[in-house]
Symmetry: C2
Subunit: 135 residues, 2 copies
DNA sequence: CTCCGTGCAAATACTTTGCAAAGCG
DNA sequence: CGCTTTGCAAAGTATTTGCACGGAG
């Protein structure tokens, strides 16, 4: 039996905020973004709804970058790039994993593999420039 | 100019603890592990040294699992599996990324790609069994 | 004597939670 | 009216930091 969920303007706004950007925001970012339009929004609510969305699969988590969890409204499997300079998280189009990797790992090691994430680390374009100026 | 670093029994013990296990420990685990032999060890010291090792490249971070950072004394690039049931982090032998991915991404998107991590998510053998018992 | 390393405790930073009030159906 | 959602503030958890002391050369 599924838990009934009431309609909620704020919850919808949180989900929309996530789906309308590609910066893979933090909870704080969502909060700041919506605060003007919803002055009585509280950070706790943002966290609560993000956790709920994550569990229901409506959004995914990219992981923790510099101590803050980054969320992604794009649930289609895709690759990320994380800038070690500024902490930016970018989408990287393309397929980089060999085919059947999940199946192979699953069968070889007796694991249930649900997903496979590829993350590139390095410096984004802007941080490369900043570094060149410094030197 | 390199910073001089004094020898330190505790620092060495922390590094050894990391290198002598494949469980990809948390700071707390290292602390608990060494506490019996170094009764006056403090958690702050563990954190300080782990941060230092990480920066110097002596160890790497696997990322944050269930709110705690996981460290790895094996700095050779390799693939990980993270169990969503118990939070275990396992090494997965094998190469799963297509060749030249880093170069391709770097050149296509004007990024400096330093590394590429592959992480499988799912249930480990034990958690699969636990789940079957439950059902 | 001069640094580096450390214990300890306080401070941070992010996230979660309890509770009473407000909202939806 | 019953159950969900929220604001608010307090609590919780992991990590970082300031400071004074201890040790090695």
């Amino acid at each position: 039996m599924e838990k009934k969920q009431n309609f909620s303007r704020k919850r919808e706004a949180i989900l929309n905020a996530l789906r309308s950007t590609t910066i893979h925001p933090t909870a704080e970012w969502v909060y700041q973004k919506l605060k003007p339009e919803y002055p009585d929004l509280s950070l706790g609510t943002v966290y609560r709804n993000l956790a709920q969305f994550k569990q229901s699969g409506a959004i995914i988590s990219v992981g923790v970058v510099n101590g803050q969890e980054r969320y992604d409204g794009n649930t289609h499997p895709h690759t990320h790039f994380i800038c070690s300079g500024c902490g930016a998280v970018l989408d990287v189009p393309g397929e980089y994993v060999r085919e059947n990797s999940a199946t192979l790992v699953s069968e070889t090691y007796h694991l249930e593999v649900d997903s496979c994430d590829v993350v590139f680390h390095g410096l984004c374009t802007q941080c490369i420039e900043k570094q060149q100026i410094k030197n």
